[in-house]
Amino acid sequence: MKKTVIGLAAAMTLALAGGAHAQGYPTKPVTMIVPFAAGGPTDIIARIVGDHMSKTLGQQIVIENVAGAGGTTGITRAMTAAPDGYTIAMGHLGTFSAAPATYPGLKYDPINGIQPIGLAGGTPILIVARKNLEANDLKSFVAAVKANPDKFNEAHAGLGSVSWTTCTLLKGQLGVPKLNAVAYRGTGPALNDLVSGQIDFMCDQIVSVSEQVKAGTIKAFAVASAQRSPALPDVPTTTEAGLPEYQIEAWNGLAAPKGTPKEAVDKLVDALNKALNDENTKKRLLDLGAVIPTATDRTPEGFGALIKRDAAKLDPALKSAPR
C-alpha cells in the first residue's frame, strides 16, 4: 500500500512537472527534505542556506521535515522521488556515510545511488566529559579509558545519531568497542546527565556543547578537526592532544536523486556556492560554530568523495559495534 502511495505521489509530481525537462529550471518551488525535526542542527543549516539559495534560483526552496529512523526515512523519500531537480535533501554524516553500515536494510546507496550537490557546512566534534572526572587532558583520559574501560559510561543520542557514530568511531580506535554506552532520546537529555555527572563522557557537535564548556559545567578534551574552533580557541585539536587518528566532522550536505538533469544540478551547485560566499549567510553559519566548506567540497565530485572517504573510515568501527 505504501509503495502505491509513493508511486502515486511520484506520478503526480511528474504530471505536475508537465514532462518539461530542466530547460529554464526552476519553474516552480524546490522541495528540500530535511530528515530531522524542525529546529535541530541540520534543519537550521538547511534553512540558513536554503534562504539564500532561493534568491539565486528565483524560486522558493520549501523545507519539508520528514523525521524518522536516524534521518534515513526522509533521505529515502528524497532519493526515491522523481529526479527532476525539484526534490533535494539536506543529509549529514550519518545519513550519507554512516547509514549503510548502521542500517542493513537501507533503501538507497549513498556511494553510487545518489547525485551529490555539495557540502553546506561542517561542525567540529568535541570530546567532552563531566567536570569532576579525574582526567584533565585527552592523554590521561585515553590512558584511563584504556586501562579501565568498564569503569566508564558514554552517552549518545541514540543509534545512528552523530554522537553515536562519532563516539563509536572513537571507541573503535581506542580498542574499547564494548565500553558502556547509554542511549538517550536526543542530545539534550544526554547533556543533562553529563552536566549532573551521571555519565562520564560523550562526543558531540560543538554547537550543542560549547556553551556548557564555556560555563564550566562540563570539560572539553579535544576537538576532532585539523584546526581549533574559533568558538572554543582554548580547546586543543586531537592532533595537538595526542590522538591524531581521531579526525571526524559532522557535516551537512545537499544531494538529489540519481539521474537529476545536469542543468538542474549545475544551477543548484551555483546557488549553494553563492549562498556560502554571501557574507551574511557565512556569518550566520559561523555563529553556529560551523566551518565553511572548501571550494572542492562544494562540488558534486568533492562532496561525493567526502561521503566515500568517511564511509570507509567509519565502516569498521560501526560494523564491529556491539548491538
Binding site: 529546529g39 545512528g160 532520546r185 546527565d193 560555563a215
Partner: protein, 499 residues
C-alpha cells in the same frame, strides 16, 4: 533586590509595542490551535518557525512561548467541551471537565480552568524570576534511577485512583506501556512490534493514539445516543464561577500550582505528571471522593492550574541550563539557535533582555489569555450548538488534518481510525482510556530511564534502592499500593466507586 530590577528590565522589553503585539498573536494562535482538536503546539511551532526568521530573537521567542502556553489553555477547552485532550497534559481535564459540561456547567468549568490557569501562571512567573537558577540544581539531582522511580510512583497512583475496578485500570496501564514499546529500540536499533510497517519504525505518535481513543471513539459513542448530547447543548450556564465554586476551587488551584510547578522543572517532560498528580491529590483529600469523575470542580481547578504552572516552569531548565525538557522546548532551542543565541547557562547573563523579557511576557501573556478567553468562552461554547451532523464530521476532519500534519504520513490517519474503533470497544467494555494514555506517555520515558539506570549500574537493580531519592519515591509507591489493597480500604474504595 536584584529580582525587581531584573523584572523591571524584563517588563521594559516585554511592554514594547512590537513585543506586546507578538505576545498577543502568539496567545491567540495558541488558543486557537489548542481548541482545534488534533493540531498541537509542536506542529504549529514547527510550521511557524520560519516566519520568525525576520523577527528579533526576543520577539520571536515571546511569540512562540505564547503559542505554547496559549495551546495549554485552548486544549482544556476542547477537553471540557468535546472530551478530546489535544495534549497529554489535558487528559485529566476530560474526566471531570466534560462531566461538568454534560451537567450544563460547561461555562463554569471553562471559567474555572481559565482563572485557575491565570493564577498558576502568575505564580509560576514569580517562581521562574526568583528561583530559576537555584531550582535548576534540584533538577540535576534527578538521574535516570530517580526518574524511573518517580514514574513508577505516578503509575501506582494511577492504578489506585482510577475510576472503576483496579484490575481494569491496571490492564489499561499495562496496555499503554506495551503500546509505548512499539518502534525502534533505542539501544540496539532493533524494530519491535512494527510488523515491517515503516510508519511504525518510530513508534506510535501520541496524537494518533489520543485522537483515536478519545476523539474518534467519543464521536462513535455519541452517535449511539444522540439525545444525551442535547442536554449539554441546552444548558451552557454562567461563565464566572459563583462564590461556592470559588471557595471549592481556591485551594485545589493553589495545590495544583505548587505540584505542577515543581514537576515542570524536572527534565524529561515532568510537566505531564503535574495535572495527574494534582487530580490524585484532590481526590485523595476530598471529603467525598465519589464526586470525582462526575463533575467535581476541584478536578478541573487543580489539574488545570498544575498544567499551566508546569508549562511555564518547563522553561526553567531551558533558560538556565540550555537543556530542553520536552519536544516543544527542543523547538525553542532551535528558534534560539536560528537567531544566533546558543542556549546555555550563560543566556541569563549574556542576554538579560531576552531572559527577563520572556519571563515578563509570560505574565503579560497570561493576563491576555484571561482577557481573550473569558469573552471567547462564549464562542467556544457556541461550538456545542452546532448540529451534530455538522459538528461530528468537522471534528473528524480537524483530527485527520492535525494527525496528517504531524508527520505527513497518511498511514497515521488510518491508525487513528483503528484506535477509534478500539477506544469504542473499551468504552463498551467499561475500561477507562485515561490510564492507557498515561501508561503510553510515561512508558517510553520509563523504559529509557530504566535501561539507562541499569546500564550505568552495570545491571544492578540495587541502584534504585541505594540512591536515597529514588528509594523514597519507590517507598511511597509501595505504600500507596499496600494501602489500596488492604481489605478494609479495598472495600471502602469499592463502595465509593460502585455508587
Amino acid at each position: 533586590m536584584d529580582m525587581f530590577s531584573n523584572l523591571s528590565l524584563g517588563f521594559g522589553v516585554a511592554l514594547s509595542f512590537q513585543n506586546l503585539a507578538l505576545c498577543f498573536v502568539g496567545c491567540l494562535v495558541g488558543t486557537l490551535i489548542g481548541v482545534l482538536p488534533g493540531v498541537g503546539p509542536i506542529a504549529t511551532i514547527s510550521i511557524l518557525l520560519p516566519i520568525t526568521f525576520g523577527l528579533d530573537p526576543t520577539g520571536a521567542l515571546i511569540m512562540l512561548a505564547g503559542i505554547y502556553y496559549g495551546a495549554q489553555y485552548g486544549g482544556s477547552t476542547t477537553a471540557i467541551l468535546v472530551n478530546i485532550p489535544g495534549e497529554a497534559t489535558a487528559v485529566v481535564t476530560t474526566l471531570d471537565g466534560h462531566q461538568m459540561a454534560k451537567q450544563g456547567r460547561a461555562g463554569i468549568a471553562l471559567g474555572t480552568a481559565a482563572i485557575g490557569s491565570f493564577v498558576a501562571g502568575c505564580f509560576a512567573t514569580v517562581v521562574i524570576a526568583a528561583l530559576g537558577a537555584p531550582l535548576t540544581k534540584m533538577a540535576l539531582l534527578f538521574g535516570p534511577a530517580e526518574y524511573f522511580s518517580l514514574m513508577v510512583m505516578g503509575l501506582c497512583f494511577a492504578v489506585v485512583l482510577a475510576r472503576g475496578s483496579i484490575l481494569k485500570a491496571f490492564c489499561m496501564i499495562m496496555l499503554g506501556l506495551l503500546l509505548s514499546t512499539v518502534g525502534t529500540d533505542l539501544e540496539t536499533g532493533q524494530e519491535r512490534l512494527t510488523f515491517g510497517i515503516p510508519a511504525l519504525a518510530d513508534g506510535i505518535d501520541f496524537s494518533v493514539l489520543a485522537m483515536g481513543i478519545f476523539g474518534f471513539a467519543e464521536v462513535l459513542r455519541n452517535l449511539e445516543t444522540p439525545e444525551a448530547r442535547d442536554v449539554v447543548r441546552a444548558k451552557i450556564g454562567r461563565l464566572l464561577p459563583g462564590w461556592s465554586d470559588i471557595k471549592q476551587s481556591a485551594m485545589p488551584c493553589m495545590r495544583g500550582t505548587v505540584i505542577g510547578g515543581t514537576l515542570g522543572i524536572l527534565p524529561g517532560n515532568g510537566a505531564v505528571l503535574g495535572p495527574f498528580a494534582s487530580y490524585t491529590v484532590e481526590k485523595k483529600i476530598a471529603k467525598d471522593p465519589s464526586r470525582f469523575g462526575k463533575g467535581a470542580i476541584e478536578g478541573v481547578a487543580g489539574p488545570e492550574s498544575a498544567n499551566n504552572a508546569g508549562a511555564q516552569t518547563a522553561f526553567i531548565p531551558l533558560l538556565t541550563l540550555g537543556i530542553p525538557p520536552n519536544a516543544v522546548m527542543a523547538l525553542m532551542v532551535g528558534a534560539m539557535t536560528i537567531h544566533g543565541i546558543i542556549p546555555g547557562p550563560q543566556v541569563m547573563t549574556r542576554n538579560p533582555e531576552l531572559f527577563w523579557g520572556m519571563i515578563a511576557s509570560m505574565w503579560i501573556g497570561n493576563l491576555m489569555l484571561l482577557i481573550i478567553n473569558l469573552p471567547l468562552v462564549g464562542l467556544w461554547v457556541k461550538l456545542l450548538q452546532v448540529p451534530y451532523r455538522l459538528m461530528f464530521p468537522a471534528i473528524l476532519i480537524f483530527c485527520c488534518i492535525g494527525i496528517y500534519s504531524v508527520n505527513n504520513q497518511p498511514l497515521d490517519v488510518a491508525f487513528t481510525a483503528m484506535f477509534g474503533l478500539f477506544g469504542y470497544l473499551l468504552i463498551k467494555l467499561g475500561f477507562e482510556p485515561a490510564p492507557l494514555l498515561l501508561g503510553f506517555v510515561l512508558g517510553k520515558l520509563m523504559e529509557e530511564k530504566l535501561r539507562q539506570a541499569l546500564i550505568i549500574s552495570r545491571g544492578s537493580f540495587m541502584t534504585f534502592l541505594e540512591r536515597p531519592i529514588s528509594a523514597g519515591l519507590l517507598l511511597v509507591a509501595v505504600a500507596v499500593l499496600v494501602v489500596a489493597l488492604m481489605p478494609s480500604m479495598a472495600k471502602k474504595r469499592d463502595e465509593v466507586f460502585t455508587e
